[in-house]
């Protein structure tokens, strides 16, 4: 299994629908400061439900929706939405059809060569916003996604995503927290 492609639509600085292909082995991302590299990593954590909002530099989910105006603009300019889809290649059947069907709560998931996890956040007025998850286009809950991904070896504590500036966190965290990482794996 691997990430075949990401589709970002109005997520953070990606104000246009953008497809980002990844290689099966080793893909690098480079570019000037502030161009949007870390936002791509944040988009994966957001879509797969792997991060707390503070971890992806946002106070509330609506901070993740592309915002071309100055922060000072307070008036709510009408409904807005951001979405990220992570397309996983499952040719090697890391996840079986049964696992996908059980997580999606429906048989209608297409073939499972591809597993598509999509998350949308939609703001309807100043204070109200909603977050939706989809698995192969079927609406599901966060816990369905997390259980399915855990079966494939992707867990929120899994340390398979190291964010910018966090690499030495493993050294500075408490010994208890560090042991907790092994607990999670065991």
């Amino acid at each position: 299994m691997y990430i075949k492609e990401l589709v970002l639509d109005d997520f953070k600085s990606f104000g246009r629908k953008t497809r980002i292909p990844f290689y099966q082995d080793f893909t690098t991302i480079s570019g000037p400061n502030g161009s949007g590299k870390s936002n791509i990593i944040d988009s994966v954590l957001f879509a797969l439900g792997l991060a707390r909002t503070s971890g992806i530099r946002a106070e509330k989910l609506t901070d993740l929706i592309f915002d071309p105006s100055d922060e000072g603009v307070d008036s709510f300019a009408g409904e807005r939405e951001a979405s990220v889809e992570v397309i996983l290649d499952n040719d090697d059947r890391t996840l079986t059809r049964e696992q996908v069907v059980s997580a999606a709560g429906s048989d209608d998931v297409g073939d499972v060569d591809e597993i598509r996890v999509r998350r949308r956040v939609k703001q309807t007025d100043e204070e109200k916003y909603y977050s939706y998850y989809y698995l192969n286009d079927r609406a599901v809950n966060l816990s369905d996604i997390q259980d399915l991904l855990a079966a494939a070896g992707v867990t929120p504590e899994g340390y398979n995503v190291v964010m910018q500036g966090d690499v030495t966190e493993i050294i500075t965290m408490s010994p208890f927290a560090r042991r907790g990482i092994i607990d999670e794996i065991a």
């Binding site: 980002i20 080793f26 690098t28 480079s30 890391t94 010994p175 560090r178």
Partner: protein, 158 residues
């Protein structure tokens, strides 16, 4: 419960010792504060980059801490592989020699799992099969250019 914990601990520790030795030319190991009852204590690391005397973890340098932390991430990957890994500028404090070691290691691990790495430095950029460039337009919207490395080199910042 203790048995499954100890099995995972020993497995990851075996990988950690090997990877740390290779990355930093020294010896390192994971140490349980209370081996009799692991859940009663935490886990620390004994790390001796280039076989220096063992220091408190906190006394290590920025580069040594990065290298030790990466050895742990890679050890967990070897023991319990996840389908993909994303590393965001983990080479920021590494000197040229250590950045090369990490690049080599990621290149090798990328055979078993997918690695997506954000970096400004050539030690990582030169090794990947595909490089994605990101730019910010005048309209303040990020755009992506997929550069296929087989065609041309990627400018590194270093």
């Amino acid at each position: 419960k203790k048995a499954t914990f100890m099995e995972a601990f020993e497995g990851i520790n075996a990988e950690f010792e090997q990877i740390f030795a290779r990355l930093s030319d020294g010896s390192g190991e994971l140490v349980l504060e209370d081996p009799e009852d692991p859940f009663d204590g935490g886990m620390t690391m004994k790390a001796q980059p280039r076989d220096k005397p063992v220091q408190r973890l906190d006394a290590m340098s920025g580069g040594e801490k990065s290298l030790t932390a990466l050895a742990f991430v890679f050890a967990v990957q070897r023991y319990n592989p996840a389908p993909f890994y994303a590393l965001d500028e983990v080479d920021a404090f590494l000197d040229a020699a250590n950045a090369e070691m990490v690049g080599e290691m990621v290149d090798e691990l990328a055979g078993d799992a997918q690695f997506v790495v954000v970096s400004h430095r050539s030690a990582l950029l030169e090794r990947s099969e595909r490089a994605i460039g990101v730019t910010m337009g005048d309209d303040n919207i990020s755009a992506v250019t997929g550069i296929d490395l087989s065609q041309q080199g990627v400018p590194a910042d270093d």
